[in-house]
């Protein structure tokens, strides 16, 4: 299990290759990449703040839950903080499992939990406007749906 919180950019292909090389018994590998999106066309940059003393432990807890719930062979989470410009990669997850359904579901679960249980906050800084990104009611609904699911 790998968890990394960093300001610097990372190389997606290097990370995926390193992850894949370590999971000998997996038949499926799923990745997700989060990218800074500019909906308004005027976004200058995004600032991501986090709670350094808590972030890594929170990510590890979520990863451990995903590995247990879906019987994953392994999982990887990398999340950046600081100043990021549109098009830059914010974060990635990778999951490895024997079969694709668990790998997909594991990645989906990781993302749902990272969204509202990992202590990161995003602020969008546009040319004439600055705003903290708000959480959505659907974020909590997604977590509730996972807890209603019968154990995999």
């Amino acid at each position: 299990m790998v968890t990394r919180v960093q300001e610097a950019a990372f190389d997606f292909s290097v990370e995926v290759n390193t992850f894949q090389a370590k999971v000998k018994s997996a038949g499926a590998l799923v990745t997700f990449t989060g990218i800074v999106r500019d909906d308004s066309g005027s976004l200058d940059h995004m600032f991501i703040e986090h709670y350094p003393a808590m972030t890594e432990a929170a990510l590890q807890k979520i990863e451990t839950q995903a590995i247990t719930k879906f019987g994953l062979e392994d999982a990887l989470v990398i999340h950046r903080y600081g100043m990021l410009t549109p098009g830059e990669t914010i974060m990635m997850v990778a999951t490895a499992a024997r079969h694709r359904k668990d790998a997909f579901a594991g990645a989906d679960y990781l993302m749902d939990y990272l969204k509202s249980r990992a202590p990161f906050w995003k602020k969008e800084i546009s040319k004439d406007h600055t705003e903290w990104v708000q959480s959505k009611a659907t974020d909590e609904a997604a977590l509730a749906a996972w807890s209603r699911e019968p154990e995999a």
Partner: protein, 83 residues
């Protein structure tokens, strides 16, 4: 009891600083919020709507009812927006 208090995102901006140490007899998070609320306008603005604020006690997510016995750190922040 000495408590390290941290604020993040817009809670930090409203309170006006990111960290402080307070001496308090609060036994729950709710007690602590009442103390902070009465302090100044920034805190009053930050804590005006507690349904919009999350809390972590000793770096674990908590609630208003969470007890502060032997705690060392409380953090207040808006709902998280990771991913």
């Amino acid at each position: 009891m000495k408590l390290n208090i941290l604020y993040f995102a817009w809670v930090r901006e409203r309170v006006g600083h990111s960290q402080e140490t307070v001496e308090t007899d609060a036994t729950t998070v709710a007690d602590l919020v009442v103390e902070l609320l009465q302090r100044d306008e920034g805190c009053a603005a930050a804590f005006a709507d507690m349904s919009a604020i999350c809390v972590a006690v000793d770096q674990e997510l908590g609630e208003l009812t969470t007890h502060l016995k032997d705690s060392y750190e409380v953090a207040f922040f808006p709902p998280m927006t990771g991913g």
